[in-house]
Amino acid sequence: MAGAAALWAAYRLRWRRRYLLARSFARCTRLVPRSDRTGGIAAGAILAFAVTRNELARLPGFLAHHRALGVEHFLIVDNASDDGGAAFLADQSDVSLWTTADTYRGARFGVDWLTCLLARYGHGHWCLTLDADERLVYAHHTCRDLRALTDWLDLTGRPAMGALMLDLYPRGSVNAPMQGADPLDHLIWFDAGNYVMTRHPDRRDLRIQGGPRARAFFADTPRRAPTLSKVPLVRWNRRYAYIASTHALLPSRLNQAYAVDGGEAPTGVLLHSKFSPDIGDRSVEELTRRQMRTGADLYDDYYHALRDGPTLWCRASTRYEGWQQLEALGLLSRGGWE
């Protein structure tokens, strides 16, 4: 039986979830539909949700990868792109696009916008919530699509699947010109075994940190290193709410997508192409935005370092070969899905 403290924590989390939903719905009106094709969403369709900002170069690859996995409709919020990304998305027949001029940070890094879209369109569907620089891979993804995966998750009674965000980087400086057209032809290296994790006792989410960013930029302040664990694939209910990005959500039982009894649960990996050559420009932009708003802050060093085009590659880096390799390294698991 749960102790009083656990009950109290559960009660507080319930109110927190209600608060998150309320503030998201309050911001719903700030989303302007640009091309609303949601009428064409079939019952049981697998949906993808994303917020984009100036990511035109990544969008074709992002859409193609997840289309091939069986995402039937993309619901995307464009946050004031000025690179033509919005126009590109509006032309896609399987994309519904909203735009907003609100600040990303003011909307909890876009989570408020996604939460209201998820509640309105995602209820009852399997929903994949991603960033445009992430691509989901999982065991057998090369021959079994998301429909196969989610059917099996349904069969085995799993409401969500977790994934590790795996930072990919190039052989040389992260600013060096890209080799090949697709970011993932260029970013083919990763850190295989320096991830550390803790479990939040009440929310039950696993917080994983590590990888090249922790090693190169946060060696002196590891606590501040970015969180790499996510729960991107969920059979959505309109009462659910992501807490911060897609690292954790409420109700908390959904966060426990990992096995705690020594076994292995099914998990995926989000191949993260943040370290494309435009990272320098993005960091400069981010620095300017931050300084306008809050002045110098704790992450300035990080963006300064990124602006200068560091090399993340080292002799111990691993070259990406596919999901079987990730499974052998323990970064993803089939979790009994043979």
Partner: protein, 559 residues
């Protein structure tokens, strides 16, 4: 027309239709039971598709719930419908809508022709069952189960517990010997007829209606009563995961399924187009057929189940985060930790490297940085030597290092100057071998020649830390192999002790140690200890000073 099929359908109607038509077109009648939960309009639309197909008939519908009597009722109804409608059948095969024949149905008919009197039904006594979940084997037959296992799990468990405590049991009717087995069978018409028309069927059914998961025991027990020849195996290949859910077959299983030579497989993903296309095409090239041979598939799926259930020891990831790691294996491979020997011997790491191989690191938990072997700044898996990164999650630093170097023996040094947070892991981990010469950290201090007044605070601090470490050796749950000698005991007879350690790590062999490491010059060490005492620091971890060889007389000890 000697073989007929009973087919239980609740979803994926297109696939069920495809398979049913395949059977019917090969002369095998099919009686379909559609779950009562399917809306009437949907059911009628499905039934009407077969209006022109006389070999496909429908049974009256029952609402089927997993694990309950309703599924047996559905099977009975469809079986009766089949046996009445097609009196010249010899075998009846129970299938589901997600079953797929892996061999042309003609081969199955020929196989049954060769075994005309045989009932193929897995049927084993409860003592021999190892595959049930929740451990309810015998008790399925003797307890009552008023609550649903799926929907009312807590009540279900409480009810079982209560009956166990009160010793309540049901009587098993005479003439029934409980047997369990796969739900999917192929019975002779005669056996099936005897079961369905038994004079005491009403009483039997009433009893089994209260048994838990009767679809795994009703026909399996009653076949024993009426059959003349039982082959206790199912002709349907079906694999189950650790929670009793069926494994699903996908297009990429095609080669595996082809090689199995089984007749029917369950369950097949409805969208596995290639499987349906391949296996329902009787004109495909015929391989050389043998007896059904599911061994290879068994191995593949057993491995997946084991990975699901037990995981990979020593892996911590988004998939595996054991909550109660103590009492289990904490790391993925054996490793060795040496405390104090590097202080006592010159170039002990080089000596270890020659005798143990693998990677011999320095002090991985040194305050300045992690001293990886060969002075590397970054180790396998991109593990950084940064002390702050390491000390953020000190135990996961070690589990990560061991995970990334699987297959290579890892050894490192540890001492009271190092971050002690990892000590708990070391002593509780069955993979660890700890070789501890306590008090050896005093040797470099002695050799430094610094005045006692300058070092005594540091001596006291290190001694306190080491005492805390040594105390954990007596904790409950210590699982590491620990070799601990106070410095004085070790120095008195070092060769034999080193030999034991090397033998334990390498496995005992006939080889005796010939090249021994060079012990540092301990002349005057006893005097140093006395000066420490005089300075107010009582050495507690060095052992009985009287055991020290008289270095002053013997000169430099060559052990």
């Amino acid at each position: 027309m000697t073989l007929g099929f009973v087919m239980l359908v609740h979803t994926a109607f297109d696939r069920a239709e495809q398979v049913a038509r395949y059977f019917a077109s090969h002369g095998c009648p099919v009686a379909i039971h559609v779950d009562g939960k399917v809306p009437p309009r949907r059911f009628r639309a499905f039934r009407d598709r077969f209006r022109t197909e006389p070999r496909i008939v429908f049974a009256s519908r029952t609402r089927v719930e997993w694990g309950t009597w309703s599924i047996v009722q559905a099977t009975q109804a469809a079986s009766e419908r089949l046996v009445e409608g097609f009196p010249d059948l010899r075998h009846v095969f129970l299938a589901s809508g997600s079953c797929l024949p892996l061999r042309p149905v003609g081969e199955l008919v020929a196989y049954l022709d060769a075994n005309p009197e045989t009932d193929f039904i897995e049927s084993v006594t409860t003592d021999h069952v190892t595959w049930t979940i929740d451990g309810l084997e015998e008790e399925r037959f003797t307890l009552r189960f008023p609550f649903s296992w799926r929907r009312q799990r807590r009540m279900f468990n409480a009810c079982v517990k209560l009956q166990r405590r009160l010793g309540l049991t049901r009587r098993i009717p005479d003439g029934i010997v409980p047997h369990l087995g796969s739900q999917w069978w192929c019975l002779t018409r005669r056996t099936l007829h005897s079961i369905l028309n038994a004079p005491d069927r009403k009483a039997t059914d009433a009893y089994f209606a209260g048994v838990w998961i009767p679809d795994e025991s009703y026909f399996q027990s009653l076949a024993r009563r009426y059959s003349t020849t039982i082959e206790s195996r199912s002709l349907t290949l079906s694999k189950f995961d650790i929670h009793g859910k069926p494994h699903v077959f996908y297009d990429d299983h095609l080669p595996l399924l082809q090689r199995s030579d089984c007749f029917v497989a369950r369950k097949v993903w409805p969208r596995a187009d290639a499987l349906y296309r391949t296996f329902l095409d009787d004109n495909r090239p015929v391989a050389k057929r043998t007896e059904p041979n599911p061994g290879r598939i068994d191995r593949v799926f057993s491995k997946a189940n084991e990975r699901r259930a037990s995981g990979r020891a020593g892996l911590y990831s988004q998939a595996r985060f054991p909550l109660a790691p103590h009492g289990s294996v904490l790391t993925c491979a054996r490793y060795n930790v040496f405390c104090g020997l590097d202080d006592l011997y010159e170039e002990f790491d080089g000596w270890l490297d020659r005798h143990l191989g693998g990677s011999v690191h320095g002090h991985l938990y040194a305050p300045e940085r992690a001293e990886f072997a060969d002075g590397a700044r970054i180790a396998a898996g991109c593990l950084s030597d940064s002390a702050t990164l390491r000390d953020y999650r000190p135990t996961q630093f070690l589990t990560n290092l061991l995970w990334s170097t699987r297959g290579q023996r890892q050894s490192f040094f540890f001492g009271p100057r190092d971050n002690q947070e990892v000590a708990g892991l070391l002593v509780h981990d069955p993979n660890a071998t700890l070789v501890v010469v306590s008090g050896a950290w005093a040797v470099p201090m002695f050799l430094s020649g610094q005045p006692i007044e300058e070092i005594k605070v540091e001596v006291a601090r290190l001694q306190r830390i080491e005492l805390d470490f040594l105390r954990t050796f007596r904790n409950p749950g210590v699982a590491a192999r620990i070799h601990h000698w106070p410095l004085a005991d070790f120095v008195a007879q070092p060769v034999e002790k080193l030999q034991n350690v090397v033998d334990e790590i390498n496995g005992a062999g006939p080889r005796r140690l010939t090249d021994l490491p060079q012990m540092r010059d301990l002349r005057g060490f006893t005097d140093f200890l006395q000066r420490l005492r005089n300075g107010g620091v009582q050495p507690k971890v060095i052992g009985d000073v009287a055991l020290f060889p008289d270095f002053a007389d013997a000169g430099r000890k060559a052990p």
